[in-house]
C-alpha cells in the first residue's frame, strides 16, 4: 500500500483502510513517502511492515519499492494466492474480505475495484490484485523492473497505470473488476459525461466547437467520478475517491455526495470532511479540470445528473 500525507500523519480513513486490509491479508506492506511523525510511524509499524522512502515518482514507484521488498525478484511472492497493490486515495466502503471472496471465483488473471476504457481499457491502479501466475510472468516482472519514476500525474496515468494493463493484456492475461456496471449505471454515466462535456472549457460556439463537444460526449467515463454515488447503493462501488470529493471533476455536486456519504456511511466517513478541509491547502485546484458555470439552458437538467442519495 502506497501512502502519502503532507503533514506526516495518517488520515482517519487511511487508518481504517490499514486496519481492515491488515486483517484481510496475510501480509501488509506500507510504503510511505510522507515525512512521518513518530506517532504515525509507530502506528503504521504496529499494523504493517513499513517502508519509508523519499517522495518522488508517485504511487507506482512506491508499488515498485514495495514489490521489490516483498520478494518479486528472487523471493516467493508468487506463492501467495494474490498480490495486491493499492494506495490511500480512496475511502473504502465495503469490507475487503467480501471483495476478496467474491473475486476469488472470477476467471480473470488480474483485477481491480474498477476498470475504465479511458485512454485504453485498463484496471484503475489505486487497487489492483494479481493472481500468482501473473506475478510470476515475464511481462509482470519486466514491467516492474523497467519502471522509471515519472514526475507528472498525467504521465503516470498514461505510461504506468494504462501501460500495466496494456502489457498484461498483450501477453494474453485477462482482467476484471469488482464493480459491475449495470445498464442503468451505463446510461446514467453517459448522461453525466455529456453534462461534464457541456461544462468543460475550451469549446467555442463554432462548427468545430460543436464537433468537439460531441466527441467529448462520447468519451468513456471514469466510474470513480461518473458513478461515485454507487457507493451508496450498498457499497456496489466499494469506495469513494477523495479526488471526487475534493475536485468534483464532472460537476455533479461532490459536496452533496459527501453529505450523503456521511449520512449513509457514518463509520467509513468519520473524520473525512475534516481531513479534506485540513489538507485542502496542499491540493490546489487543477486548472485544466476547472469547469465552466452551468449554462442557463442546462440548469433544469441538473437534477437528472447530480449525485443522489440512493439509486
Amino acid at each position: 500500500m502506497a501512502h502519502y500525507d503532507h503533514r506526516g500523519g495518517v488520515g482517519p480513513h487511511v487508518r481504517r483502510q490499514v486496519e481492515t486490509l491488515a486483517s484481510a491479508v496475510d501480509k501488509l506492506l506500507v510504503v510511505s513517502t510522507a515525512d512521518l511523525t513518530d506517532r504515525s510511524r509507530a502506528w503504521l509499524g504496529e499494523r504493517a511492515e513499513l517502508v519509508e522512502r523519499p517522495n518522488y515518482g508517485y504511487d507506482f514507484t512506491s508499488y515498485q519499492v514495495g514489490l521489490h521488498r516483498a520478494g518479486l525478484f528472487g523471493g516467493d511472492l508468487s506463492s501467495y494466492d494474490e498480490v495486491v497493490i493499492c494506495n490511500d486515495t480512496y475511502v473504502p466502503v465495503t469490507p475487503y474480505d467480501a471483495i476478496f471472496d467474491r473475486m476469488a471465483a472470477e476467471p480473470v488473471d488480474f483485477w481491480g475495484l474498477t476498470v475504465t476504457d479511458r485512454v485504453a481499457p485498463h484496471v484503475q491502479s489505486f487497487f489492483v490484485a494479481f493472481r500468482p501466475w501473473v506475478v510470476g510472468s515475464q511481462t509482470y516482472r519486466r514491467f516492474w523492473s523497467g519502471l522509471d519514476p515519472l514526475s507528472t500525474r498525467r504521465q503516470v496515468i498514461l505510461r504506468h497505470e494504462v501501460g500495466l494493463s496494456l502489457g498484461l493484456h498483450g501477453a494474453g492475461f485477462r482482467s476484471g473488476a469488482y464493480f459491475r456496471e449495470t445498464d442503468a449505471d451505463k446510461r446514467l454515466a453517459r448522461r453525466r459525461v455529456r453534462w461534464w462535456a457541456a461544462h468543460r472549457p475550451g469549446v467555442s460556439r463554432s462548427r468545430e466547437g460543436l464537433e468537439k463537444l460531441r466527441e467529448r460526449s462520447r468519451e468513456p467515463w471514469n466510474p470513480a467520478a461518473a458513478l461515485a454515488d454507487r457507493a451508496l447503493d450498498n457499497g456496489r462501488l466499494p469506495f469513494v475517491k477523495l479526488d471526487t470529493l475534493r475536485y468534483d471533476p464532472y460537476g455533479l455536486g461532490a459536496d452533496k455526495l459527501l453529505t450523503y456519504c456521511e449520512e449513509r456511511l457514518p463509520d467509513a466517513f468519520a473524520g473525512v470532511r475534516d481531513f479534506l478541509d485540513e489538507t485542502a491547502a496542499y491540493y490546489p485546484p487543477r486548472p485544466h479540470e476547472k469547469l465552466r458555470s452551468t449554462p442557463p439552458a442546462l440548469v433544469p437538467l441538473r437534477r437528472q445528473v447530480e449525485y443522489r442519495r440512493a439509486p
Binding site: P107, D109, G136, S137, T139, H169, G170, A171
Partner: protein, 1001 residues
C-alpha cells in the same frame, strides 16, 4: 495454332439445326464427357447447349482451341477454312487433298466428318503421327469417360461462393462424467490467441469435452496464461513440452486425451458454438469414423468462400491443403496409426488424414461450423513432400525393369495446350521406327479443354501416356510422378514452360554412354546467340548457383574443351533411369525452380558422377524463362539449407571453357534499387578473363568479335554478310583464334570486353568502336554509307575495292587498306564438278527487286538461263527459276558444272570498284564468267573474265563460249591463283598480322 485461343469466344446464339446438320455433334462423345447415354442427337444437343463451353460437341472440335463456339464456327463461312478446330486437325490438309470440301455448307471439317469411316486417316497437322479415325475416336471416348469417372473427386476439391445447404441437426448427445470428445490445441508463444480459442471452446453448446492444451515450449508468458486458464476451467488439461514440432506436441496431447473422439482446435480457425454438438452428434449417430465441417474462408476482397471436404482417399489426394480444425475423428483410429508423423515440420494434418483415409471415409458435414481467421497457408514444400509420399511409390519404381536402349521423356505439361502439343509433336516427330521412345506427360489439375485433346494426341503414339493428376502439383512433384512410371534406360526430364528444342534429346542421350556422366544438359542459349546457361557454377561461400557462361557468345561454349560442370541448370536434362529412381527423383523441397541443380549436386556428392553440358544439343529459350537465382529466392534458400557449401568444380568448369575466374560481382536487377533504403535481391556474377597460353609458337591466340549487320535468327543466317563472316571466322579459327560472329542483336553484349579484336564487316549499320579493343573495319559493301569520321574512328580500315580505298582514304586523310573480297577454297575449287555438265547459263543471286542486267541481257539474246535466287517471280517465268535458295555448300558444284556463269554488280558497288565475292567463287571453280565492267577486274582476273555492257556484247559470249573464253587450262591456272591469293585464309592472315601489330602498340 490458335493465337486467340485464350481470348473469350464471342457469344453467338446456337442454331440447333445447323449443329445437327453439320455432323459435328457426336452424341457418344458428349455423353462420355457428361457421364450420360443419349438416345438421340437432339437430346445430346440440349445438354450440350446447357453446358456452354464445359463440354465439347465433337472429338475434333474444341471451342477454346478454335477460339469460338461451334455455333460461331459454323456461321463463319470462309473463316472456317483458316481456323484450326482442334490440335489434331489441319484444315488446310483437308482442302489440299479434297478441294471439294471447301464447298461444303458447314466447312471442310464437317465435310471430312461426313465421309470419314473408322479406317479413314485423320487429317492431322504436319508432325503428328498418322492415325485412323476409329482408333482416335475410341481413344477420345475412353479419355472422356476416364475424366468423367473422377468428376466427383474434382468437385470435392472445389470451394464455392455459396454456403452449403445445412444438414439436419443430429440427435442430442449424452453428457457424462468422462468427456466424449477431447480437443487438442497446441500453442507456441501465442497467449492472446490461446485465450480466444479457449473462449470459443467454452462457448460450445455441447459441454462434454476436455481441452488438452500443449504449450510447445513457449518463450513468452503463454505458460502463465495457460495456468490461468486451467485455474478456472477444470475441463482444460494443461501440458508443457519442450519446443519441438507441432506433430510431436499434438501427439503429447493425444497421449493425455480421454475422449472417444478427438478434434483439433488451432489459432488460425474459429469454431462456431455448434461445432462440437453437430460434429460429434453426427459421428455418434452415424457411427462414422471421421467428419469434416464446412468452413467459411474470407478472401482479401471482402468476399467469402465455402469449403466442404469429404470422401475417400482419392478425394483427399486432390487437396493440396487440409484444415485440421474442421476434423473430428475417432481417437482410437488416430492412436492406432501412431498419431502424427513427428518427422514432419508442416502439413502433418494432411498426412494424418491421408493415412486415416486408407481405412475410413471422411464424412462431410454440410454446415458451416468453422471460420478460417488466418489466411496463412501451410508451407507448400511440406505439402509437396507429403503428397509425394502418397502418390509416388519409389520402391515399386525401383523394381520395374528398364528397357535397354529405350529413352523415356517426362514432360510436365502446362495448361498452355498449344505449347504442350508442340512439345509432344516435336519430341515424337523425328522418330524412326527403330527409336524406342517412351513419353510420359504429367499434367496436374488440367482443365477439360486441355486434358482431352492432349489425351487424344498421346493416343496417336505407341508408348505415350498422359497422367492427369488431380491436385495442383508443382513441376518437381509432377515430374517425380512421371519418373516413377518410366521404363527407359535413360530418362529426359523437360519442362514445357520453354519452347521445345529441335531434336536435342539424341545428343543428350548419347552423352550418357560415358559411365562417369550422370546428367547431361543442353547448351541453353537465347535467340540472338548468347549463352543463357552452360550448367550451374558456384562461387565460394554459401551455395548460390549462377548460370555458367551466361552472356558469352555461343562460339565460346562450342569451344568447350571439358564440358563438365558442377550441376545442371537447364529446363531439360537427361539422366539414367536407374540413377534417377534410386535418388528418388527431384527433391520437391527445392520448390519448382532449382530441382535440376539440386539433383546434380546430390548425384555428384553421393555417387561422384558428373554433369556435362552438350553443346551439340542446343536449346533456345527466351529471357527470364530460366529460374530466378538470387539471394531472395526462397528456393535458393532451400538449396542452401540442404547443401550449405557449394559443390566443387566451378573454377574447373570455367577453365574448361577457356576462362579463369578473377572475381565476383553482386548485381541487383535493373531498377530494383532506387533509394538508400531499398534492399534489392542480389544475384552473383562471376568475373572471368580468357586464359592465355604462357608459351606459344606462332601468332598469339586472340579473341575476335566479327560484327555484321545481319539480324539474329534463321533469316539473318541467310544474309550474304553472315556467310562471309562464317567463312572468315573459320579461317581465323584455323589460325588458332577464337571468334564470335556477332549479329546486330549481339553488338552491345557485355562480354565484348573480353575480346581482343572487334572486326566490323561494314554493311548497313554504322558501328561505334568498342573502347579498349583493337577496332578494325572492313568495308565490303555500301561504301556510300561510310563517311570520313567513321573511317577515322577505327584503328585500321580495309576496303574490298582498290579504287575506293585510295579515293576515300585520300579524301578522309586516313589510310584505307585495300583488302578484296575472297573465296572459300574448300567450297569453291575446280574439283567440285565437271565443266559443261550443268546449266549452260547460270545465275545465282536474289533479284533485289531489280531485273538484273546480266540476266536480262542473257535472256534478251535467247539464252536459256537457269536462275537460283529469291524474288524473281516478278520478272521471270517460273520454269526459269530453278530454286529460291541454294545452300552455300552446293554452290561450288553448280559453278563448276555450268557452261557460263553470269555476274553483275549493284550500281554503287560497280561505281566504287567493289568486286563481288561471286567473281572469286566462280573463278576459283575454273568456270567461265561473264561480268559487267568494273574497276580492278582485269588486275585480279586478267582476261579470263569476259565483260559485257549490253546484249550485243553478251550475244557472242553465250552463243559460242568455247570461242569467247580462254581454255579450261587457262581458267584452272587462274583458279589456282585465286585460291592462293584470295582465300579467306589469306585474308585472315593479313588481319591477324595487323591486329597483333596494333595490339603491341
Amino acid at each position: 495454332m490458335p493465337p486467340e485461343s485464350r481470348t473469350r469466344a464471342p457469344h453467338v446464339p446456337a442454331d440447333p439445326q445447323a449443329i445437327l446438320a453439320s455432323g459435328l455433334l457426336d452424341r457418344d462423345w458428349v455423353g462420355a464427357q457428361l457421364g450420360m447415354v443419349f438416345n438421340t442427337d437432339r437430346e445430346a444437343l440440349e445438354r450440350l447447349l446447357e453446358q456452354d463451353a464445359k463440354c465439347s460437341p465433337h472429338p475434333l472440335f474444341e471451342q477454346s482451341w478454335a477460339g469460338r463456339s461451334l455455333a460461331a464456327y459454323l456461321g463463319e463461312g470462309t473463316a472456317r477454312s483458316k481456323v484450326s478446330p482442334h490440335p489434331l486437325v489441319d484444315v488446310r490438309r483437308i482442302l489440299d487433298e479434297h478441294p471439294q470440301a471447301a464447298r461444303h455448307t458447314y466447312g471442310p471439317l464437317s465435310w471430312w466428318v461426313s465421309q470419314a469411316g473408322d479406317d479413314s486417316l485423320v487429317p492431322v497437322p504436319e508432325g503428328v503421327r498418322q492415325v485412323r479415325w476409329g482408333h482416335l475416336r475410341a481413344a477420345a471416348l475412353e479419355a472422356a469417360e476416364r475424366r468423367h469417372s473422377s468428376a466427383g473427386v474434382r468437385r470435392a476439391h472445389r470451394s464455392s461462393r455459396r454456403a452449403p445447404t445445412p444438414t439436419p441437426d443430429p440427435p442430442a448427445l449424452p453428457v457424462g462424467d468422462e468427456p466424449l470428445v477431447s480437443i487438442v490445441l497446441t500453442v507456441h508463444d501465442d497467449g492472446p490467441r490461446l485465450r480466444e480459442v479457449v473462449d470459443a471452446v467454452q462457448a460450445q453448446t455441447y459441454s462434454g469435452w476436455e481441452l488438452v492444451v500443449v504449450d510447445n515450449g513457449s518463450d513468452d508468458d503463454t505458460t502463465a496464461v495457460l495456468t490461468g486458464v486451467a485455474a478456472f476451467e477444470p475441463r482444460v488439461v494443461p501440458l508443457t513440452v519442450p519446443r519441438g514440432s507441432t506433430a510431436r506436441a499434438r501427439n503429447a496431447a493425444l497421449g493425455k486425451a480421454r475422449g472417444t473422439y478427438v478434434a483439433f482446435a488451432d489459432t488460425a480457425h474459429a469454431w462456431r458454438p455448434d461445432f462440437l454438438r453437430v460434429m460429434v452428434g453426427h459421428l455418434h449417430a452415424s457411427g462414422a469414423s471421421m467428419a469434416h465441417a464446412a468452413m467459411r474462408v474470407p478472401d482479401a476482397a471482402g468476399g467469402e468462400w465455402f469449403r466442404v471436404v469429404g470422401g475417400r482417399r482419392e478425394h483427399l489426394l486432390a487437396h493440396d491443403h487440409f484444415d485440421l480444425a474442421c476434423l473430428v475423428v475417432r481417437r482410437d483410429l488416430v492412436t492406432q496409426l501412431g498419431g502424427f508423423d513427428e518427422t514432419l515440420g508442416g502439413a502433418e494434418g494432411l498426412d494424418l488424414v491421408l493415412r486415416l483415409s486408407e481405412d475410413a471415409r471422411l464424412r462431410p458435414v454440410r454446415r458451416v461450423l468453422v471460420d478460417r481467421t488466418d489466411p496463412e497457408e501451410e508451407d507448400p514444400r511440406w505439402t509437396a513432400a507429403i503428397v509425394e509420399r502418397h502418390l509416388v511409390d519409389w520402391e515399386a519404381a525401383g523394381r520395374r525393369p528398364r528397357e535397354r536402349g529405350r529413352v523415356s521423356v517426362v514432360l510436365h505439361a502446362s495448361p498452355d495446350l498449344a505449347r504442350t502439343v508442340r512439345w509432344v509433336t516435336r519430341t515424337m516427330a523425328p522418330l524412326g521406327e527403330a527409336d524406342d521412345i517412351e513419353l510420359v506427360v504429367v499434367g496436374s489439375h488440367l482443365p477439360r479443354h486441355v486434358e482431352l485433346p492432349l489425351a487424344m494426341l498421346m493416343a496417336t503414339y505407341p508408348r505415350a501416356r498422359l497422367m492427369a493428376t488431380l491436385p495442383r502439383l508443382g513441376a518437381a512433384l509432377s515430374t517425380n510422378i512421371g519418373i516413377a512410371q518410366t521404363t527407359g534406360e535413360v530418362v529426359v526430364l523437360a519442362r514445357t514452360s520453354v519452347n521445345p528444342p529441335r531434336d536435342a534429346f539424341r545428343a543428350l542421350v548419347a552423352a550418357l554412354d560415358d559411365p562417369a556422366v550422370a546428367i547431361a544438359q543442353p547448351l541453353v542459349t537465347d535467340r540472338p546467340g548468347l549463352v543463357v546457361s552452360a550448367g550451374a557454377v558456384f562461387g565460394p561461400g554459401r551455395t548460390l548457383p549462377e548460370a555458367c557462361m551466361a552472356g558469352l557468345p555461343v562460339s565460346d561454349a562450342a569451344a568447350l574443351a571439358a564440358r563438365r560442370v558442377p550441376a545442371p541448370l537447364s529446363p531439360v536434362v537427361a539422366v539414367r533411369g536407374a540413377d534417377l529412381v534410386r535418388a528418388h527423383g527431384f527433391d520437391v523441397w527445392m520448390g519448382d525452380t532449382l530441382p535440376e541443380i539440386e539433383l546434380g549436386i546430390r548425384l555428384a556428392v553421393n555417387d561422384g558422377a558428373a554433369t556435362i553440358v552438350v553443346p551439340e544439343a542446343a536449346m533456345v529459350i527466351k529471357p527470364r524463362q530460366l529460374a530466378r537465382l538470387d539471394t531472395a529466392s526462397a528456393d535458393v534458400r532451400a538449396l542452401q539449407e540442404r547443401w550449405p557449401s557449394p559443390p566443387p568444380g566451378s573454377d574447373e568448369a570455367w577453365a574448361g571453357a577457356g576462362f579463369e575466374v578473377v572475381g565476383r560481382r553482386w548485381e541487383a536487377p535493373a531498377g530494383a534499387a532506387r533509394g538508400p533504403l531499398d534492399a534489392p535481391a542480389l544475384a552473383p556474377r562471376t568475373l572471368v578473363r580468357p586464359r592465355r597460353a604462357a608459351v606459344r609458337q606462332g601468332p598469339p591466340a586472340l579473341r575476335w568479335a566479327l560484327d555484321i549487320a545481319a539480324p539474329s535468327g534463321p533469316r539473318g543466317q541467310r544474309w550474304g554478310d553472315a556467310y562471309f563472316a562464317r567463312s572468315l571466322a573459320e579461317a581465323l579459327t584455323r589460325l588458332g583464334q577464337r571468334v564470335s560472329v556477332d549479329n546486330r542483336d549481339l553488338r552491345q553484349r557485355d562480354s565484348r570486353d573480353l575480346d581482343d579484336v572487334v572486326l566490323v564487316l561494314r554493311g548497313l549499320d554504322r558501328v561505334v568502336p568498342r573502347p579498349g579493343r583493337v577496332n578494325l573495319e572492313w568495308v565490303i559493301s555500301h561504301p556510300d554509307l561510310v563517311d570520313a569520321a567513321e573511317l577515322a574512328s577505327f584503328d585500321r580500315v580495309y576496303a574490298a575495292s582498290t579504287t575506293w580505298a585510295a579515293r576515300a582514304g585520300a579524301a578522309a586523310g586516313v589510310a584505307v587498306t585495300p583488302l578484296l573480297q575472297c573465296t572459300d577454297p574448300r567450297l569453291f575449287n575446280p574439283s567440285r564438278g565437271e565443266p559443261d555438265t550443268g546449266a549452260p547459263v547460270l545465275f545465282v543471286g536474289n533479284s533485289r527487286d531489280v531485273y538484273r542486267r546480266s540476266v536480262r541481257s542473257a535472256l534478251a539474246v535467247g539464252a536459256r538461263v537457269e536462275v537460283h535466287g529469291a524474288d524473281w517471280d516478278r520478272f521471270l517465268s517460273p520454269d526459269l527459276i530453278a530454286s529460291t535458295v541454294v545452300a552455300n555448300e552446293e554452290l561450288g558444284a553448280l559453278y563448276c558444272s555450268a557452261g557460263v556463269v553470269l555476274n553483275d554488280h549493284h550500281d554503287d558497288m560497280r561505281r566504287d570498284g567493289f568486286l563481288a565475292n561471286r567473281l572469286f567463287d566462280v573463278a576459283a571453280c575454273g568456270a567461265r564468267l561473264v561480268s559487267d565492267e568494273i574497276d580492278g577486274l582485269s588486275e585480279v582476273f586478267g582476261d579470263v573474265v569476259q565483260t559485257f555492257h549490253d546484249e550485243t556484247e553478251m550475244r557472242p559470249l553465250l552463243a559460242d563460249p568455247d570461242a569467247a573464253f580462254p581454255s579450261y587450262q587457262t581458267r584452272l591456272a587462274l583458279a589456282e591463283k585465286v585460291i592462293r591469293e584470295h582465300s579467306f585464309d589469306h585474308r585472315a592472315e593479313v588481319l591477324l598480322e595487323d591486329a597483333v601489330r596494333l595490339l603491341a602498340r
